[in-house]
């Protein structure tokens, strides 16, 4: 994972544990992770409207050792994620709220709220105003392209 700050003009290697935007979010929370690549999942005891998935990290390089995910039964929309350390301590909770139709058949939560017992009294929110579908070749996701990512807006 690399971070590029235009003012500095140089990509720097960072970790998914780091928070580059500040607040309670870290990089792993912001990125769209492919959970199946990093976790093994089993069904837990859900509710009438929601399924519960228990995820266990495949290796130690993953941001969180265990995750609990609540997913709606009707539309398979993610509602809540609880992230735990290897010792079983709750690190943070992410809630996915305010479903919005972003067009093109995409209906998904527009607000992600996170809070943590490690940062009592603080909450961080990410609000998605719009989502634009784009298709890029793999070269866009390389280190040398980072200086030009702003051109893709």
């Amino acid at each position: 994972m690399w971070l590029y700050i235009p003012k500095v003009n140089k990509p720097v290697r960072i970790t998914s544990l780091q928070s580059v935007v500040g607040g309670v979010f870290n990089n792993a929370d912001i990125m769209q992770l492919e959970y199946s690549a990093e976790y093994n999942a089993t069904f837990g005891i859900g509710t009438e409207k929601e399924n519960l998935l228990d995820l266990k990290a495949k290796n130690k390089s993953v941001a969180y050792d265990k995750l609990k995910m609540w997913i709606t039964k009707d539309k398979n929309i993610l509602r809540k994620v609880e992230a735990y350390s290897a010792s079983g301590m709750l690190i943070k909770t992410l809630e996915f709220k305010k479903d919005k139709n972003f067009g093109g058949g995409l209906i998904r939560p527009s607000v992600i709220e996170t809070y943590s017992p490690l940062y009592k009294g603080y909450r961080s929110l990410m609000i998605y105003q719009s989502i634009k579908k784009r298709q890029f070749p793999d070269e866009v996701f390389t280190l040398n392209y980072m200086g030009r990512l702003g051109d893709l807006k």
């Binding site: 290697r13 960072i14 970790t15 544990l17 780091q18 866009v140 040398n144 702003g150 807006k153």
Partner: protein
């Protein structure tokens, strides 16, 4: 290969950018490209208090014309940065300007960057104008920064002036566990020694090349710099994560026939030799979000301890009789040949950054040192950043330079300084 053959090769490389573009037309392009002009910038207002070392030769040279030479001096300056970024389709234009204002009689304007870019495809970029490069993986020093601006190790992230040049870059991604990404950049640098202030000798056009590999999850660059009248240089750098939160990096450059300056028999001496400069470093992130950066830097052209002492003695002797001619000569030699912030050979850089300690919101202190391993002198600095609201930043920044009279940091004209910055961004 002659210069004209290299230039023909460059032009061929540029012209085949269209061919590379045609084979990668997978992108859906919208029917109408948005034209976009964005302005940004910041205003830095800086107030600094200096505690001067009146016994320092550098101080005596700098202040010999002044009637009063106080120990405690202040400096107040304003530095506006104004940037423009224009993008339409495959074309772009970037402008970055900077000014320094001390008084109406003492102000300076800098054009940091001004360049146009063209992307015939997403794999290929052509850029031409004055632009900044950031070669190398080091944080405070870059031995392989052949085309980089001179970096201030005390503030490595500060914007710097670019290089008048043209470049073409090609990027290619692979689906492989071994080689995942490849890039190549070819840079042409016209002669900086101008004739009649406008013309350059074509034979003195320099060429630089950098190739990048993401190999087994390791960033590796190999670079070369070719010049007819400057030292030829070759380098390699790498960066890799050993653990999720622990990164290592390194650079090494071979500089052929480099010019080296020293004081011999009380006068400036020129010599040339091949030399290596290199850097090893690491970055660690703790569970409490503390970042630690450590780097060792060897400057192959640097002075030894005894050579630095000879230089220091040379300056001191020139200040003894207050002879204006001797002082001017010494000042000229110091500013022409001994301007670098790292004059000697071996340095250790160490920095700790601790965002929001003890729940102190928006406050980030960092402590760093640059330690001269040969003469044991060092600079110690504590930078305290406070960003209470978006787009505004306050910095309180005390620093001390410690060492004996004939050591690098001990002989500087400033012993301590305290800086107060206010930065407003837009």
């Amino acid at each position: 290969m002659s210069h004209s053959q290299w230039l023909i090769l460059f032009l061929l490389f540029v012209s085949t950018g269209g061919l590379f573009g045609q084979e990668e037309e997978l992108l859906e392009t919208p029917p109408e490209q948005e034209k976009k002009l964005e302005w940004s910038g910041n205003l830095d207002v800086k107030y600094t208090l200096f505690n001067m070392d009146q016994n320092s030769a550098q101080y005596k040279l700098q202040f010999f014309k002044e009637r009063s030479s106080p120990t405690l001096v202040s400096q107040y300056k304003i530095e506006p940065y104004l940037n423009a970024d224009y993008r339409t389709g495959d074309l772009g234009f970037v402008l970055k300007t900077h000014a320094t204002y001390y008084s109406d009689a003492n102000a300076q304007f800098d054009l940091f960057e001004s360049y146009g870019s063209f992307n015939p495809s997403l794999n290929v970029t052509l850029q031409s104008g004055k632009l900044m490069y950031s070669w190398g993986k080091g944080y405070a020093f870059n031995p392989v920064g052949f085309v980089n601006s001179v970096k201030d190790p005390e503030n490595p992230e500060l914007a710097q002036a670019g290089l008048l040049s043209a470049n073409v870059e090609y990027i290619k991604s692979f689906e492989s566990d071994v080689l995942q990404s490849f890039a190549m950049m070819f840079v042409v640098i016209p002669s900086s020694e101008l004739l009649n202030s406008r013309y350059g000798d074509v034979e003195k056009t320099d060429i630089a090349l950098k190739t990048y590999f993401l190999l087994w999850d390791t960033d590796i660059d190999v670079m070369a710099y070719y010049s007819k009248d400057k030292p030829k240089r070759y380098g390699i750098d790498f960066a890799r994560n050993l653990k999720e939160n622990f990164e290592i990096h390194g650079e090494v450059s071979l500089n052929l026939n480099s010019q080296r300056y020293s004081i011999v028999n009380d006068s400036i001496n020129f010599s040339s030799a091949d030399n290596y400069s290199y850097l090893y470093g690491a970055r660690y992130l703790s569970e409490t979000n503390v970042t630690i950066i450590a780097e060792y830097y060897h400057n192959g052209l640097g002075l030894t301890t005894s050579e630095y002492q000879l230089y220091g003695n040379y300056l001191q002797k020139r200040t003894v009789n207050n002879n204006p001619l001797a002082i001017q000569q010494a000042l000229g030699i110091s500013q022409t040949y001994f301007r670098s912030s790292t004059l000697m050979q071996d340095y250790l850089y160490f920095k700790i950054i601790y965002p929001e300690p003890f729940d102190m919101l928006y406050f980030t202190p960092s402590l760093y040192t640059i330690y001269n391993l040969a003469d044991k002198s060092f600079l110690l600095s504590l930078q305290m950043n406070y960003k209470p609201v978006t787009n505004i930043e306050f910095i309180f920044w005390p620093s001390a330079l410690i060492g004996g009279n004939l050591t690098e940091y001990g002989s500087k004209q400033v012993q301590e300084r305290i800086e107060l910055w206010m930065r407003v961004f837009f």
